[in-house]
């Protein structure tokens, strides 16, 4: 086979293959960069989420915030028991306004609520609260 006979076609084919290979190179560069960027973005999001979650649920000031629940109502109405990172509290004879104050404070404290039990007895409320952090 005489290749000279087809040299025009070979030149065009060569140029086309060169273009096609450069096109594939570009597509590969785009997809690899996109994948890399996604990985980096995902890692950043993950770290930010970890930091945010730790900031809320592993805050060193939680103990202090929990202690505030003890002083929120007169001490005569509270029976408080704290062991390590667990608290069991019993509130009795709470007025509705005290109950509101207490529950909203409990809900805003970043602790794991093991048990929250509210019972109306007559005109007052009895609250049993167990939490850990």
């Amino acid at each position: 086979m005489n290749w000279k006979r087809y040299q025009n076609e070979l030149i065009v084919l060569g140029a086309f293959l060169f273009m096609f290979s450069m096109y594939l190179y570009k597509q590969h560069a785009i997809s690899s960069q996109s994948g890399e960027r996604n990985d980096v973005t995902q890692t950043i999001e993950e770290i930010k989420e970890v930091v945010a979650l730790k900031k809320i649920w592993a805050d060193k000031k939680i103990s202090k915030k929990v202690e505030n629940l003890k002083t929120l109502v007169p001490s005569s109405k509270v029976k408080w028991s704290k062991k390590s990172r667990k608290v069991t509290a019993l509130y009795t004879g709470l007025r509705p306004s005290e109950l509101n104050k207490l529950t909203s404070k409990i809900l805003n404290t970043p602790v794991v609520i093991d048990n929250l039990d509210i019972q109306k007895t007559g005109s007052s409320y009895r609250v049993e609260f167990k939490c850990k952090w």
Binding site: R5, A15, M19, V40
Partner: protein, 308 residues
């Protein structure tokens, strides 16, 4: 017009050429094999189909021959030529691609060879029996060796385009255009590709800064462990608080919370309502907030329960 181009007679003893513009060439019988036949066909394409069989045994088996056919009076003239050999010869003599526009055969201008035409010290072209043939110069008488002038007037009407003859799909011009376009796009893709390959700059910087701040988070395993632990805790605790908030939204004038219980699995509440109408309203609110609502017998009380 092809006739306006210079016509060169190509023969084996010709000198090396250097051309500045395309020319037509006329080949001597040194480059083709001739046969004349009277055939019962009307058109050239029909005659061309028979060409292969007519030259059987006459041609060198190794060459790849093509055929040029035309009609002269009553007979068909068949010319077999090996285009590869012709191209090789032309290149040796200094013809470049694109220098040759059309190829003609000396036989086509048989009528123009009114006298012998001397090619070299050894060979001359003469017409014998209406056929242009090569003869030794010695065979010519001194009177016969005239000064026949070979010029563009020898150019026949039909010829073979070298590009057609070489079976090329693309002409030289098309080749240049297509190749340039393809290479242009290739360079564009290359530049674009190299730009994309540069990495994700600012995001990478941010990540490195976070790693510097929290070295322990460089480990995917550590991160995933912490995330899975706190994500689940966050989800459950938020659900508890949301449920309590939704229930507290149902307390208004005429509604009293009599009991509330929250643990890891569910949230339960009891409401006491001052009238049936209010109880109905609370019931609707409860259902809307996707709690299971049930009435407490013997009163306008409601029990609500939701799972976490």
């Amino acid at each position: 017009m092809e006739n306006s181009k210079e016509l060169l007679l190509v023969h084996t003893a010709m000198k090396h050429v250097s051309l500045s513009e395309p020319v037509n060439i006329m080949l001597t019988p040194q480059f083709y094999t001739l046969k004349k036949e009277i055939l019962p066909v009307t058109y050239a394409y029909q005659a061309k189909r028979l060409a292969g069989s007519l030259f059987e045994g006459l041609l060198d088996g190794e060459g790849s021959y093509e055929f040029f056919v035309y009609k002269e009076d009553e007979h068909w003239t068949f010319i077999a030529y090996d285009i590869d050999k012709i191209i090789d010869f032309l290149q040796k003599k200094g013809f470049n691609q694109g220098d040759v526009s059309k190829i003609f055969f000396a036989q086509q201008s048989v009528e123009e060879f009114t006298a012998p035409y001397v090619l070299s010290d050894q060979d001359a072209l003469v017409v014998l029996d209406d056929t242009v043939v090569l003869v030794p110069v010695n065979a010519l008488s001194t009177e016969e060796a005239s000064s026949l002038k070979f010029d563009r007037h020898f150019t026949p009407k039909k010829g073979v385009s070298l590009e057609d003859a070489s079976s090329s799909i693309f002409t030289l011009k098309q080749t240049v255009i297509f190749s340039t376009v393809f290479i242009f796009f290739a360079m564009m893709f290359l530049i674009e590709g190299s730009r994309y390959g540069g990495g994700s700059g600012s995001a990478e910087e941010e990540l490195q800064s976070l790693y510097a701040q929290y070295p322990s988070f460089q480990s995917t395993y550590t991160r995933e462990g912490i995330v899975s632990k706190y994500r689940e805790l966050d989800k459950t605790e938020r659900a508890k608080r949301e449920a309590v908030k939704r229930l507290s939204g149902m307390i208004f004038k005429g509604v009293t919370l009599t009991a509330l219980h929250v643990d890891h699995k569910s949230v339960k509440a009891n409401f006491s309502c001052s009238s049936k109408k209010i109880a109905q309203r609370v019931e609707n609110l409860g259902k809307k907030a996707q709690f299971k609502v049930s009435k407490i017998k013997g009163s306008h009380g409601l029990h609500m329960e939701g799972t976490l």
